[in-house]
Subunit: 558 residues, 2 copies
Amino acid sequence: MLVNAMMLPLVVLSVLLAVTPTIAVWPVPRQYSTGTTPLRLSPSFSIKLSGIDHAPRDLVDAVARTSSYLRKDKLQALVPDRGASSAKVIRGAKSLSSLTVSLTTKGKVRSISEEAIEDVESRVEGYTLTIPADGSAASLRANSTLGLFRGLTTFGQLWYDWDGTTYTLEAPFDIVDSPAYPYRGLMLDTARNYFPVADIKRTLDAMSWVKINTLHWHVVDSQSFPLVVPGFTELSKNGAYSASQVYTPGDVKEIVQYAAARGIDVMAEIDTPGHTSIIAKSHPEHIACFEASPWTQFANEPPAGQLRLASEATTNFTTSLLKAAASMFPSTLFSTGGDELNANCYDKDAATQADLASQKKTLEQALDTFTQVTHSGLREVGKRAVVWEEMVIEHDVTLANDTIALVWISSEHVAAVAQKGHKLIHAASDFFYLDCGGGGWVGQNVLGNSWCDPFKTWQKSYSFNPTANLTEEQSKLVLGGQHLLWTEQSGPANLDPVVWPRAASSAELFWSGPGGDVGEALPRLHDLSFRFVQRGVNAIPLQPTWCALHPGMCDLHA
Amino acid sequence: MLVNAMMLPLVVLSVLLAVTPTIAVWPVPRQYSTGTTPLRLSPSFSIKLSGIDHAPRDLVDAVARTSSYLRKDKLQALVPDRGASSAKVIRGAKSLSSLTVSLTTKGKVRSISEEAIEDVESRVEGYTLTIPADGSAASLRANSTLGLFRGLTTFGQLWYDWDGTTYTLEAPFDIVDSPAYPYRGLMLDTARNYFPVADIKRTLDAMSWVKINTLHWHVVDSQSFPLVVPGFTELSKNGAYSASQVYTPGDVKEIVQYAAARGIDVMAEIDTPGHTSIIAKSHPEHIACFEASPWTQFANEPPAGQLRLASEATTNFTTSLLKAAASMFPSTLFSTGGDELNANCYDKDAATQADLASQKKTLEQALDTFTQVTHSGLREVGKRAVVWEEMVIEHDVTLANDTIALVWISSEHVAAVAQKGHKLIHAASDFFYLDCGGGGWVGQNVLGNSWCDPFKTWQKSYSFNPTANLTEEQSKLVLGGQHLLWTEQSGPANLDPVVWPRAASSAELFWSGPGGDVGEALPRLHDLSFRFVQRGVNAIPLQPTWCALHPGMCDLHA
């Protein structure tokens, strides 16, 4: 059966899927065929790098990790008897002894880590994976080590365990795969609540299993400043929740390298000029309306406080800070934020009003200057700026053509952002916010609920159309998209269950392309969740186990 | 300062609380005073049982656990500097060397475990705790070992850590405490998804920390039958998710004893006649509309299937099963369920129609017979029946006067249930369902959301009035209440974060009494959440850490 999953009309697809088991890979490969022959991994199964001179260390490590997952996943098939009735077939199956991994290009071999941090628009992530049914060697080929890594990830998800035997019932496999969109991210806020490095690394592993290629790290905010920035260490010293709740340059390096070795670029964000209250703990001169009350008049969340954007000193301070922070990260991308600017804060700030008067500028003109100066500082250190949508559609500021916009307030704003001609990343609260539906967190608000209710189910984000309301030309501006976790009510205690497996739905949407059917996807997503748990990531059950073991029988019209 | 927390008008209370730190105990004691003198625990601090001959093993163990928490909690105060500015005061504080624990009654000393499983209406849980400010011995007294256990729990929550010193800034303490309601529960469904014994034991520990005294264990349902019932082992053999996902009689004994030693009674439930599909795997003759399609016409959830209540053989089978299952649990209470009976299932079941015709009974009359027979079986083994509200207000069945009703569909049904004269437990979905707001879980339902949206915040459940719309006489029927976790989308991966700290809000409501102010409660609830995390229970953060460290500053009107 040859399935180009996202190209077939849904009706045809569902008929095909009703008669054969689907491939247990998430995101689903863009083109694949499977068979019905059982095949098991030989006890001496090995992954061999072929013809790769001086194989990069991260590729060798990725091979070792894949081998380890094959040995340790011990995931039983999600059928009522978990595989027992196939025991005889499995025992009698041919054995696969090896997977041969090779590059299809000549020349200097680059590491996964080098390729992962290339500009988002020029990464090469495709691969071809062939697994014959007769036990002869399987083959993984790609034009890049990053592509080989994606293929190894796929290979690691094809197998189940029964009684110590690692098997599939669906050989042969022929897979030709590459992503529909170049940007597939996950945003994590480490400022409202702090996450130890170990939590971030575990999250990076999980992200890599679903081929997410960017960690959008919203590292600081008004509530805390955990990033230790060389030259600006007073910010974290006075602004972190505690001396141990920080990310040192060594921590950042560890995280960035860990991510890159797993095909993930780290796009950091220092949100400006809003969301900066905590800077006042060490630089009160740069912050307007610091902890002003009632906070509802000065900020969207407590505590209030914004950079004095009309001040030349503050603009220079911010530029230096952004350059120093951005230089800690090898990514070509860096986000300067720009969301939720509160005009009343500046109206009531005497220093800002004096600056505006002396410069004969409006607030918008001052914001334009602030943005141009800070962004050109970033360009000096080789970064391409990323901003939240307000900077494109709410404010009248000059942005470089290559500036990327994150659409967050509503998916209905996508067309307006595209209209401005900037590349964009889907991050809309109505589809991709992982924190929605968790109840209100503001104090003394008995009946308060989540501002972006209801909870965004995986089905909802999976149903998103990345080019809705866009012209064909505008559609080319879409780089991809991501789920986002704002952490007002999340911390290490609930990181995994809030994120997984939901964030996998955007990972597939932007890898495999839109138009997937939630009914076809659900059994694969169960598979993924169970596999995550086997690997130590606390993905939640999406349904009663009974439903996971009886595909389709818990569907609405079943 | 003497505070009888729930009796004071809110205005007076909030003024008092604005000027002094509140007691960091959850649930808040019903009567207490605190001071402003620092006091620390001596490195040689010990808890001494005084005049308790042959002290029960579980009391000795509880003392040891309390001592262990005092040593290991290492909870820093939730203030911006986490206690640093109090370091000098703490170092200079007087030391408390001992807590003397004694019973105020004479006669045979009963164990906590014996007292915990007494009839819900006759348990004695009150205690008096006095901690002088001058370092002289503290004193805990009660009429029961169960009361002493509650007092030890309180003692364990009064202390913070700074740099290895365990201290309070609020001595002396005078606490006189006892619960407002005798039933304070938590319901856990182990049928939709299975929870290992270790998860249940960890949950029991957490429950005991907030003085919850009943685990309502919804142990089996249509999806799986994990309970190994002596004489009916075929049910779990064919109905558990796997051979290892069961609760053996040994597991049950372990759980029951673990619970009782922590002051918790285990009220088990075998839901009948609905929610029993899985029984057909071993006894197809007893189940109507087994896995009938479309399930929406035969059950509220897949898979469909209900006990053939009009069949004498099925009635006898059910009675024997209930007696055997109930005999595994020492509690005086046992729930036979009775919710969500589907009439269409019986209308379409030829066997049931034939039984009804031959007996010349309506379905309601057959249900009455079924209920009377099964309940009298339970009485034979010493159990008092508990049922869901439909059995009281939707059906015309004969129930013993002492039958207890669980009100779940809506808090608006409480008055109707009380009207029938039965004792009742608050368990309403609009206040106490922990699973609401998590999105729809049924397959092929892209925009489906939680049927009981929105998410029930702790503030919402905390604001519940247990006697709303009840006469004074009817109010006496209220035994208490509980949070409930139905586990369609929960498993070991997210048990703690879904339950905690939210379930603590009903624990306080039904111990301390209603009328508490969420603004006063929030800092204590932060304290509790942070302490839970220190003790290994993954309670979620309710707010950004900044808010936890700045009480009141994230309130709506701050």
